[in-house]
């Protein structure tokens, strides 16, 4: 029984399920570092998915799909940035407004451009390529888990490293972090904190665009109303869980992916589906609780240590 649940394809599923979360999560953690909690990722992913399909369909090219998704991401990132940074509006409200906007807009455009409701798929939508690494396929375990994924799976891994380096190892990353932590201080050394916030907001839009394009062109080859299905919020949870660190957020996204995939498999073992679907959520709360308790205990221990000195 158990080998049917825990096997290599579980890891493969994990990676697949986690990718949209990783991409959006990387974007959201950038704005988080710049001091902005981005609730609007959900909407950004959705528009990305739509414009990805739009571009791929009309230009018969998945690259054009990605480009259009990115363009839409930049635009929404700019709108989000303008309201949050320029007008200092509540980021919570703006995020929700962006989500509603994206939901309405994509359905509206779906009807007026493609003349369909619900979902749109067509052979003319060019999917993103899968990548096959010829060397890895010799080892079955690696071939099964790491090989033959859609291109954005690998891009997301590269981005984790790139963004980690950018944030912690380059001046630009320092500026972004400073713009979130103490914007006035950054301004006094001659770097415009608003600019850094805008950039992070736009890059977040781009990455959410990637996430959407991956969803509609890499993972699936169709657009369907509200197909982001809460991924923006889970990505947000991954960011908070990973305390905005790209590597930890990556880990948190994988964790979500893992428990999501696990939940699907556990149904076969006779657990009612409602409970298996709960797994990622309960595990998150439980994990947060364990981590919090540990850090409390650690603090107590340190105190104890001090006292003994």
């Amino acid at each position: 029984m158990l080998h049917e649940v825990f096997n290599l394809t579980l890891l493969q599923n994990t990676i697949r399920t986690a990718t949209p979360l990783i991409l959006a999560g990387l974007g959201g953690l950038l704005t988080m570092h710049a001091g902005i909690l981005n609730i609007g990722m959900e909407g950004m992913i959705l528009t990305g998915a739509f414009f990805g399909v739009l571009g791929s369909y009309f230009f018969s090219s998945s690259l054009m799909g990605v480009l259009l998704a990115v363009a839409s991401g930049i635009l929404i990132g700019l709108i989000f940035g303008f309201f949050v940074i320029e007008l200092k509006a509540d980021e919570f409200i703006i995020g929700i407004a962006i989500n509603i906007f994206a939901g309405g807009l994509t359905i509206f455009l779906l009807r007026s451009i493609f003349g369909v409701k619900g979902a749109f798929s067509s052979p003319r939508i060019r999917p993103l390529p899968d990548i096959h690494f010829p060397l890895i396929d010799k080892i079955t375990a690696l071939d099964l888990t790491l090989n033959n994924h859609s291109i954005f799976v690998y891009i997301s891994w590269i981005l984790v490293v790139l963004i980690y380096i950018t944030i912690y190892r380059t001046p630009y990353g320092m500026w972004v972090r400073a713009s979130g932590e103490y914007p006035e201080a950054l301004a006094t050394v001659g770097v415009n904190p608003k600019k850094m916030k805008y950039i992070s907001s736009i890059v977040c839009g781009i990455l959410c665009g990637f996430s959407g394009a991956h969803l509609s062109l890499g993972y699936l080859t169709l657009f369907s109303e509200n197909m982001s299905a809460g991924k923006g919020f889970i990505a947000l949870a991954a960011i908070i869980f990973g305390s905005s660190n790209p590597i930890k957020t990556f880990g948190a996204a994988l964790l979500f992916g893992f428990f999501d995939a696990l939940g699907i498999r556990l149904q076969g073992v006779g657990m009612p589906s409602q409970f298996t679907q709960m797994i990622p959520y309960t595990v998150t709360v439980a994990a947060l609780f364990i981590v919090a308790q540990k850090s409390l205990r650690k603090m107590k221990k340190e105190q104890h240590f001090e006292r003994n000195m």
Partner: protein, 364 residues
């Protein structure tokens, strides 16, 4: 001073709504639809008859309650995003009382059902509150997660242990006749829960604005360190706020059961708690504002469907317009600041020009 600020706020509120409606009109126009027909259909559909008005009001009930729930928690500096889950559990609890204790006389039955809903909703909010104040676990993330848990859990309940005996519909059995709240206007779902809602809204307004605990909650929300310093236990107040917020969502759920559907349904809320959150955020968590904004949202929702019927303008367009309205209102302060800056500059430039001219005149 206070009054003046409020009129200024109301003025800019009206201004942003107008601006957003204008943008909506432009979108309609660009789609070859007449904005005048569209909007008149919307207004008519929402307010044009007794039935329409009643339908609109029926839709505001859950929004007012969830909006107040948001106001209570957000004002106190603890962010309850878990209203949806609390609403589902509360609705289920209300339904459970309603189909289990069918022999109770109406009045007591309803009280018991609403109380059970409040209790369950409150308890479900108590968990993240404790996690927040005791273990410093971010309540935003826990409440979001707990939404899904609650919805899936009730999903399980109505499909297995409490599935309706007849009608294969993803719901519980009907509640007893005595529990069904009286409908007020023929065919419309408007029912006596609106009176209770008004009563609750007044109580919450009084509680938040006119009592010492309300004052304490506000201070905790604005500056917890200050509240602690002044002798208020911010932790206890945060828990109180969260539980109260959860209870309000639970009550909102029970009203859906007792007044609208007469049973618990699987998809009982189309996201009331999120809409309520938006309602409250837009009016900066002011309980009076919540009532008005909830009505406005009700008008949009009912009206948009009428608009779709009569003009075939898709109701998604209303979502777009609605989000633009929200953007404008949220950005209201910023727009005002920019405007003020521009005005101030102008004023200054005019006066400096005047003094320069004077000087030149003097030199001559």
């Amino acid at each position: 001073m206070r009054r003046k600020l409020n009129t200024e706020y109301l003025f800019s509120l009206v201004l942003s709504v107008t601006a957003a409606l204008l943008i909506g009109a432009m979108i309609m126009f660009a789609n070859g639809k007449s904005p005048i027909l569209g909007y008149s259909a919307l207004i008519n559909g929402a307010l044009g008859s007794k039935y329409n008005l009643a339908t609109t009001l029926a839709k505001t009930v859950p929004l007012i309650l969830t909006g107040l729930a948001t106001a209570v928690s957000f004002r106190s500096g603890i962010y309850n995003i878990g209203g949806e889950g609390q609403l589902y559990l509360g609705a289920f609890a209300g339904a459970y009382v309603g189909f289990t204790f069918v022999q109770l006389p109406g009045f007591w039955g309803i009280i018991l059902a609403v109380a059970a809903a409040a209790l369950v909703g409150g308890f479900y909010a108590y968990i993240p509150a404790i996690l927040k104040v005791r273990y410093k676990i971010d309540e935003v993330i826990t409440t979001i997660m707990m939404n899904s848990i609650a919805i899936l859990f009730t999903d399980y309940l109505v499909n297995y242990p409490f599935a309706a005996a007849r009608g294969k519909m993803g719901g519980t059995d009907m509640i007893g006749e005595a529990y069904k709240l009286t409908r007020l206007v023929k065919l419309s779902k408007l029912n006596t829960s609106i009176f209770m809602t008004v009563l609750i809204a007044i109580s919450i307004y009084y509680f938040l604005q006119k009592t010492s605990i309300g004052y304490e909650l506000k201070m905790v929300g604005q500056n917890a360190a200050f509240a602690n310093y002044g002798g208020i236990s911010s932790k206890k107040r945060m828990i109180l706020a969260m539980v109260l917020s959860g209870a309000l969502c639970g009550i909102a759920g029970s009203f859906e059961v007792l007044g609208s559907h007469y049973r618990f349904l699987q998809n009982i809320s189309p996201g009331y708690a999120f809409d309520g959150m938006l309602v409250s955020l837009i009016v900066k968590n002011n309980p009076v504002g919540v009532v008005f904004m909830a009505i406005f949202f009700g008008i949009l929702k009912t009206g948009s469907i009428a608009m779709e019927h009569t003009t075939s303008i898709p109701s998604e367009l209303v979502l777009v317009i609605q989000s633009i309205i929200i953007l404008f209102i949220a950005g209201e302060n910023g727009f005002k600041a920019i405007l003020r800056k521009l005005l101030a500059k102008d004023q200054y430039e005019i006066s400096s020009l005047a003094s320069k001219l004077e000087k030149e005149a003097g030199e001559k």
